[in-house]
Symmetry: C2
Subunit: 427 residues, 2 copies
């Protein structure tokens, strides 16, 4: 048994309020909040005075290994960016590159309070390896792209193998979805094959959806319907779906997303940096759509800092509605934790500081100047805090990051490998 | 003589490129870049390997002491926020409160790489005192508000006294402007008195302008012209003007701002958090308007982190224009440094790492995971960096902040005073 006590601190409860109290962890789960059961003794104590413990952020959509191309190509038009820069560089990616790029991403996520992420990329067995080794929680999917009308390169069997090898691995810490890239890169015939596999093996689906106006226009022209309608008709939403972006969705699309319980990953930094648009998050929430927050890849962000997404998501909806009361602090924090947990299909066990939930936690130090005075700690977390305030990050009750030290990865090697590999890819 | 060498680092040059080289400082100014003049010896050396030196950020618009009300009232409609929360709390402010609130703000700014700020508030002699003591650069103005049509409370003589006492103080480190709050709080008769004083003593003006749609509508209704036109006709733009916000400006307004060389302080976080709108920064820049960036007060932000404003300002314009190429990394960094220096009327001596400029600098550590790999350092600074990466902050060549330590203020006392005073005000 592994018993850890977060002593004398403050914690963010599932309603978004900050309360004072101990948090006790046993065998990877939250055993109690408030005071310990009689006779319970911890193996280890973290002094949480002047600290705030929150459910770790869930990064609901990223491409971890794209850290290798961070700052390689910015401020470019989307197709120039993809065709001239990203795709040529990615063509030279090796499995080893993806492993080290993912390690770098995991280091950055742990250091900024993220405890779980949903990933879609290539060489996903190497991403899985990085997750197994570092101890972070992840939902992995192989990006499935059909070049033109061909299905040869779809790599469906690779995704199936990933599912067989890793779904539920590490006591459920790693899960696997199928990753049809997007309606415009994985046309109906391919999408049907993905759906058939999803049905056969019981896998959920992670897809990019309605990211740009171009995508919607192209879908209307080609199929006479929106990307959301198209995927709905193809059966993509039947067994649990995580849909990234959903920037250009109509009221009818939103109804479908709500009815089919599609979980949307909203990526405000990426949507703004690529000038894709501002997703109608408030409208989706009003319609009952489940929404989590994501960073997208580090090439279109350019970091994996979930606290930046929290702030930007709230600000953007206030602007969109011209109403400062929408997406208030408690609600946006909930999106970044509970919303993300739901996006990963793990709402029951993740994203809340409640007895029985997985002890995936981030502990913020509150001694920097921007934490004073403390009128409202939830508000301070949402609008004032800095991700560098994170002191400890735990997954399944295990301390993976502690005061600048990474317990499960060799950060100097990770940085050196990522630097060398990133520069090689850019050549 | 005080000679400091920033050795073996990288620095952001005035075109926005990052170059490798030493930076030598003598008597508060940049003496050389690259290699030292023959025989020159430093008194002190900072090892800048793996570090990036930038001109300190200039926060072109804030209300420093409002840190005391940080997180006191968020996610509220503007008038509810002001009438029910901010104004009642401010009514109880003392000079001592403002002094400690300003110290807290200065600590936060120094720790995040800001070396100068433009402030408008009350008890400005106490803000000046905090600036004198801490060594930060500031442009100070007394907020001038006429209650109703009355001018009794205008406090013009207080602003004049501030000018007499502090303009040019500390070898030019502190300057003073007149601070007519806004066209709607300082009506034409009052504004004329401000202009007359500005003419008599040669003071520049700091004003809030065209922040909300309501302000513009009200101005049209009352005066038949926009707030920008109104102030132009009243002569407010004749002797150097810093105008905060300018969210709701027409093409005609923008022409006036450009022609009169008005310096605009763009405050994207505050404008979004209060749902004021998105300023047409790209259009203003295209028209030749000088633009700096500001945080506004910590009640509507809720921190004083200029790097967040850098990122948000760029993202917001990309969204506004639906074009990812606008406000690219180098340009937005320039707004936060050179633009801010110009906003403060100090373009000649500030905001650039060039020989002869004031040595107001921030040194970023580049060893965190988000600094790898390094394809483009200017891009990384704009889009990946975290303000907590700041290791050293210098004003006039003097190290004010060094690896978490504040050299000119008692941070524990500042935090304790701010905490106690903030909570008292909220009662």
């Amino acid at each position: 048994m592994n018993r850890l006590l977060l002593e004398s601190g403050n914690y963010l409860d599932s309603s978004g309020n900050v309360l004072a109290g101990d948090v006790g962890i046993e065998d990877g789960k939250i055993l109690f909040i408030g005071s310990a059961p009689k006779g319970w003794q911890s193996d280890q104590i973290i002094d949480c005075r002047d600290k705030l413990t929150i459910p770790g952020f869930v990064n609901a959509h990223t491409h971890a290994a794209m850290t290798l191309l961070r700052s390689y190509a910015d401020d470019m038009a989307l197709m120039d960016w993809l065709q001239q820069k990203v795709w040529p560089a990615e063509a030279n990616l090796t499995g080893e590159d993806v492993y080290w790029g993912s390690q770098l991403a995991i280091a950055e996520m742990l250091a900024s309070g993220t405890t779980a992420f949903a990933d879609m990329y290539f060489f996903m067995d190497r991403v899985a390896q990085a997750c197994v080794e570092t101890g972070i929680r992840a939902s992995l999917s192989r990006g499935l792209i059909a070049a033109g009308a061909s299905e040869e390169n779809l790599r469906l069997s690779e995704n199936e193998q990933l599912f067989i090898d890793y779904h539920g691995a590490e006591n459920g810490r790693i899960s696997v979805m199928l990753g049809p890239h997007a309606p415009y890169t994985c046309p109906p015939e391919c999408m049907k094959k993905v759906v058939a596999l999803s049905e056969r093996i019981g896998a959920e689906i992670h897809v990019h959806l309605a990211e740009t106006q171009w995508e919607v226009n192209q879908s209307q022209k080609k199929y006479g319907k929106s990307p959301v309608s198209l995927l709905d008709e193809l059966g993509v939403f039947e067994r649990g779906t995580l849909a990234a972006h959903c920037v250009w969705v109509s009221p009818q699309d939103i109804e479908i997303l709500a009815a089919k319980k599609v979980r949307v990953a909203h990526n405000p930094s990426s949507n703004l940096k690529l000038a894709s648009g501002a997703a109608p998050v408030t409208a989706m929430l009003e319609a009952g759509v489940i929404v989590g927050l994501g960073t997208d890849g580090a090439t279109s962000n350019n970091n994996l800092d979930m606290l930046e997404e929290v702030r930007l998501a709230s600000f953007l909806q206030k602007l969109n509605r011209m109403d400062p009361t929408v997406l208030p602090a408690r609600q946006i924090l909930s999106l970044s934790t509970q919303g993300g947990a739901a996006a990963l299909g793990q709402a029951e066990s993740l994203g809340r500081i409640e007895v029985g939930c997985n002890a995936d936690l981030a502990v913020f130090d509150m001694t920097a100047p921007h934490w004073y005075p403390r009128h409202d700690l939830a508000s301070m977390l949402a609008y004032s805090a800095n991700s560098a305030d994170v002191l400890y990050t735990l997954v399944d009750g295990r301390i993976l990051y502690s005061k600048g030290e990474f317990m499960t990865l060799d950060i100097e090697r990770v940085k050196a490998e990522a630097a060398a590999r990133g520069l090689r890819l850019a050549k």
